[in-house]
Symmetry: C2
Subunit: 342 residues, 2 copies
């Protein structure tokens, strides 16, 4: 099989592979690419394992391909970089059909092509019993203009790009009902939540939007230095920022961006929307910090990219962890998952 599947996926890419920076493509010992002069490279890689990170009972191959791409694109966005070239490692178990790979490939390429990323290499191997993927993304960033986790300053405000907790709620709904392909339609026990809400939450898990354009705009402005994508939930992701920046943070319960759909899901899931918003992973929203001085300018930039105002959810304070401020007081939530907060 060795590389055949990736060559096939690349053929599906058709016109998208006509990238003049790609000098040697799939089919040699290495890919050869010409980076832009005067740029630094950004590199990210993520692995997804069947039954740990996804379940084919509820993940159709097209969405799985799109999500594989989105996870890495989100990391590139969190650095403010321009993703350009992708490499796919596939470990393929028996029982996968050509149709599965066609749809997976189309999904993967549909997300990559939104950002003009070329798939230029990879490796295909056999696995005895479980499918897994690694995608590696190489991109570029202007010298001195990348975002990192380590530049948060005292009194910076913390912003995020969208509603939190939705992807986690979507996953829980999917697991709860294990519906295939068209979740929840015509099922008993679904009357407590609208189809619109289900579609929104499940959609956020299956097809998250990587905030690449927003990350680039923030980096380009020169007014933002610190960002992270929300992959593990903000109780953990803000803790990463605190650790890297050697400072503390507080988040404000009443400012959490919680959608009506998430509130509806409470009736089925029994987990509080605030809890899911603080600890639910895989929203892939962008979180950044900004000084008071630059706040309004940066909010304007973000609003233009997003089409709505981003959410101000907390600020950087003295200390070394993450505090949740509620009307009842303050509570440490550093690195906590929802198990600790229920």
């Amino acid at each position: 099989m060795e590389r055949d599947l990736i060559a096939k996926i690349q053929r599906l890419a058709g016109v998208r592979t006509k990238d003049s920076s790609v000098l040697v493509n799939i089919g040699d010992d290495c890919a050869v690419i010409a980076p832009s002069p005067d740029r630094y490279l950004i590199i990210t890689t993520d692995t997804l394992v069947e039954s740990i990170h996804f379940d084919l009972d509820y993940f159709d191959p097209w969405h799985l391909g799109r999500k594989t791409a989105a996870i890495n694109l989100s990391d590139a966005g969190a650095m403010g970089g321009n993703p350009r070239w992708a490499f796919l490692n596939l470990a393929v178990r028996p029982g996968m059909t050509d149709r599965f790979w066609d749809n997976f490939s189309k999904g993967l390429l549909s997300r990559l092509s939104e950002y003009r990323v070329s798939l230029v290499g990879g490796d295909t191997v056999t696995a005895p019993d479980r499918l897994s993927f690694s995608l590696t993304l190489i991109g570029e960033v202007e010298k001195g203009k990348w975002l990192s986790r380590s530049h948060a300053q005292l009194d910076d405000l913390i912003y995020c790009s969208g509603n939190l907790g939705e992807a986690a709620a979507g996953l829980k709904l999917l697991r709860k009902y294990k519906e295939k392909r068209r979740p929840f339609e015509g099922r008993k026990g679904t009357h407590a939540i609208s189809r619109t809400a289900i579609k929104r939450l499940v959609g956020k898990h299956l097809d998250p939007e990587p905030r690449v354009t927003l990350g680039q705009a923030l980096a380009e402005s020169g007014l933002v230095k610190t960002a992270i994508d929300i992959s593990d939930g903000i109780a953990t992701d803000i803790a990463h920022v605190c650790k890297s920046s050697k400072i503390g943070a507080e988040v404000w319960a009443k400012e959490m961006p919680i959608s009506r759909a998430l509130k509806e899901a409470y009736k089925i899931l029994g987990i509080s929307p605030l809890n899911l918003a603080l600890t639910g992973g895989e929203d892939f929203e962008l979180l950044w910090t900004v000084s008071k001085r630059n706040e309004s300018e940066v909010r304007k930039i973000a609003t233009e990219v997003l089409g709505y105002r981003p959410f101000r959810i907390g600020k950087i304070v003295q200390g070394d962890g993450v505090l949740l401020k509620t009307s009842q007081g303050a509570k440490e939530i550093t690195y906590q998952g929802y198990e600790h907060l229920t």
Copy 2:
């Protein structure tokens, strides 16, 4: 676990991580690296899955780490490139000890540091039942000076850098006896083959030598344009060159570099040395083609790097496949594995 293990491996690297080209290291959303000006990038990635590509019954973690690195280094060498930065994806199953990871890391880093490659990123995830790794290597190559599979010309001579078939014989010996750690010592049935021969063959499987320096020297000379590393056996690897270069090749049975150890192994394995030399994978020797005009100069360069004369094993001819020439005549071996040749 998320990234912790890779951070730990990197800490073990100690001084080796002090690489001024690495601007953002493990622990952010992406690594940031500064490539050299006026170079192209080469990228290769390979995946190894437990029980498909290795078996912990006979692979100790130190050698497994070294081989994970060597496979990718070999690809970089086959492009004539300079490997510089590595990214490791680990899918870790239950039951792995700290000691395993310490030894794996030390092995991996020992091979990478021979070529001054820095481990700068990766991903660690949980796998339910099987260990797997992907290593991705980024390197650099002078513009217009890389080796590829696609420039073999009619009448070029085909050379290779070392004995063939040894790694395949080593693997078969390991599988045959499933000895742990110290194969074959004091076992019945081993009297037919010397300990020196066993050590040599098994060593070639566990710890192959990537021909990075040789590939660089050949590319640098400007006299060689076509190379491949022998990972699948020459019946397949020369077929790759033929396909990419749109031409045929013949290999000469009497010129095959067959070691005395491989001949000895026949007594135990019952597979002819010629057969193993033509079809045995994972030797990771370098194969290249050179015009008659440049032959002696290139042989001199290779001899200097290797410390012995490389082996002239065939030539490029009209056609589209690989022919084996023996005293009995010619026989097509394109893409054949040893199953077809016994």
